[in-house]
Symmetry: none
Subunit: 402 residues, 2 copies
């Protein structure tokens, strides 16, 4: 459960909270004259909110730890990321709304190309198109074995998710992906005594499925990884008394939102403006709006600082749409840093802006940047505390003790 001390204090007063997440928002400046993307971007609206509200910076997991997207989002949502772990298979299944219940096992799959000796020669089957991959994946979906039910669904192009449902299953199984070409897929083996049955059944299924694909011209094999089951996360409604909704363009963020019990909007407008208009459309239906902007992270990973800055500017320009909704609380932050200089996620603290015009405490900072956030009134704090701050500023937490 997210902080158990919150539960008895909850007061569902109908106020609304927006958590606007710019994926990989944080950047770095390697020299005193250097600028992060957030500092480089022209952001009059964000700077006004920074001046009016409170800044701070968050530690996603622990100091020095670079988070993957899964744990970073769990922390954002208030789930201690060292305690709650979501396997990739469960996350991917949730992302495409494929049911994985407690006791089912799910994994991610890639179509691949085998040579005549069943060595992998292309781990992504030549990046086969979505349309060409669809019938191959449907062939896999037809492969069934006794004692369990198997469901396969295409994610995108060569990628799919497999779910096995039955009695006594356990996800402690290794990946079959050898992570290199020229080698055969790895043998699937039980990684714990409890997963022996799963290993046996999954191996049966794999053998049968290899035969079914044998005649395919390109996608004549597949690789599985990230076996997992439902992580059993307490739902937002239960943990926070919030009717929550996820507005995101990418499946993985929809997935993690579903796992914490959020509704997920499928028909989402494009870009920041599109997403904000989607929030506006559903404004009366929910208390909590998780809005996820992906491309700040993508440009960071590409090392494209100006591209990342441009996305931040788009967010800034679209902000009035959200402000006109008069949320009680607007939080703008990232799940982790993705400095363009490092072209990857990083451990650096994440800029955090809290704007709650009826309850916030203005600090001395007047610009939304890494350097200003480091001096902000909220200090440096773990991301797992964000929900507490949001609930408090929304008037949704009663006094603790008399």
């Amino acid at each position: 459960m997210p902080h158990s001390y919150l539960k008895p204090l909850l007061d569902n007063n109908g106020s609304k909270i927006i958590l606007l997440l710019l994926d990989g928002l944080g950047g770095i400046s390697l020299t005193p004259d250097g600028k992060s993307a957030l500092e480089f971007a022209e952001t009059p609206n964000l700077d006004r909110l920074a001046a009016e509200g409170s800044l701070g910076q968050t530690i996603p997991i622990r100091l020095g730890i670079t988070p993957g997207s899964g744990p970073a989002h769990l922390a954002l949502f208030g789930y201690e990321p060292l305690e709650f772990v979501i396997g990739r298979g469960a996350l991917s299944a949730a992302g495409i709304n494929l049911a994985v219940n407690r006791g089912d096992i799910a994994a991610r799959g890639n179509l691949c190309t085998f040579d005549e000796n069943q060595n992998v020669i292309d781990r992504r089957a030549g990046r086969i198109s979505h349309t060409d991959a669809a019938p191959v994946i449907e062939l896999l979906n037809q492969v069934q074995i006794q004692g369990v039910e198997v469901e396969i669904r295409q994610v995108k192009e060569y990628r799919f998710v497999i779910v096995m449902r039955g009695e006594g299953l356990n996800p402690a199984l290794n990946d079959t992906d050898p992570q290199e070409t020229g080698a055969p897929p790895l043998q699937l083996e039980a990684q714990s005594p409890d997963s022996k049955k799963s290993a046996k059944l999954m191996n049966q299924w794999i053998e049968k499925a290899y035969q079914v694909l044998a005649d395919q011209p390109v996608a004549n094999g597949f690789l599985l990884r990230g076996f997992a089951t439902d992580p059993g996360l307490p739902a937002y409604q239960e943990a926070y008394e919030l009717d929550a909704v996820c507005i995101a363009e990418y499946p993985m963020y929809k997935g993690v939102s579903r796992l914490v019990g959020m509704d997920v909007i499928n028909d989402v407008g494009e870009g920041a403006l599109g997403e904000f208009n989607t929030a506006k459309k559903h404004w009366n239906d929910y208390d909590f709006f998780f809005i996820h902007i992906k491309k700040t992270d993508s440009y960071g990973e590409d090392g494209n600082l100006e591209g990342k800055a441009k996305i931040i500017e788009e967010v800034d320009q679209a902000l009035p749409v959200l402000l006109e909704l008069n949320p009680e609380v607007l939080i703008i932050t990232g799940d982790h840093s993705t400095p363009a200089e490092l072209k990857s996620h990083s451990w650096h603290p994440v800029p955090f802006l809290l704007w709650a015009p009826k309850t916030h405490r203005t600090d001395l900072e007047t610009s939304f940047s890494e350097r200003n956030c480091a001096r902000g009134g909220l200090g440096t704090f773990p991301a797992v505390e964000i929900m507490s701050l949001g609930l408090a500023h929304a008037g949704r937490l009663k006094k603790f003790g008399a």
Copy 2:
């Protein structure tokens, strides 16, 4: 184990980290115009690194807690100081490279002077010289009793370490030092049922040893304190995959470094410049360099702010020697504060500077001082997180979760 979540993330990429420790670095300024030693000192090199890198301040143990040198160093090295405890005896033995294994017991000893009724009249035997004390301590080393092996070694002047090795020993024993003159040494007693055997054997040895010294003119007695055994600290190599070395002038810091598995250089140059040149000499042999500067603390304890500032200036002037080595990460901090105004260790946060030109995030601070560190981009954080930050900025930690 230091943070167990680090272990699976370690990536030994061969990068190098220097932890430059100015003992007792932190000071205070009692008035707005007041200056700490660090503020008083002229430190162009430190200020340049501060401007380029990130500042912060560390809490050695917990807020308000004044640490001894042992726990302060454990925290620096990433070992939770409330969990791992090194007894003084074990620390002193390690300082002079005297083996104490799990199950042995070690204590610190002082030669002292007894009157005819075996009351202590001088707790340090008139501060007997190193040369005069040596044969007396060698006499003690000859005293053996049945069932155990006893080894005594001189540390400096009247100070020695005793190690007892055998079966079923336990260090839960009180000090014999009465901490005052005119009183007899305290009776040694078991402080737990498990240490009854140790108490009996140690009392036998003490009685026999008193007789051996009875005819000595000055050093005709001794006092024991700080009984301890090997604390069993996980080694640096195991915890961090770092080949680490300690460059220090004083035995106690060599001791704590040995206890975490660092190599210890014996032939260390004098002063900051000497120590930095020693690091240069061994640059190719290690990944992690712990360099310990003692005199900042000594001058702080003496209440000599200018003396402390002078040592900081010496460090500043010698810094180019370290910078020319091009370490991936240079951390400059203290183990605790020793404000000259208080003439003692204190609980105040400790200035912290991190310089990692390929990965750091520059903040708004441009001077290495207590007041600037309090506003630094790294925030205020527990000293036990320093190693995580060092490893991360050295590129030695992989991503956590997918």
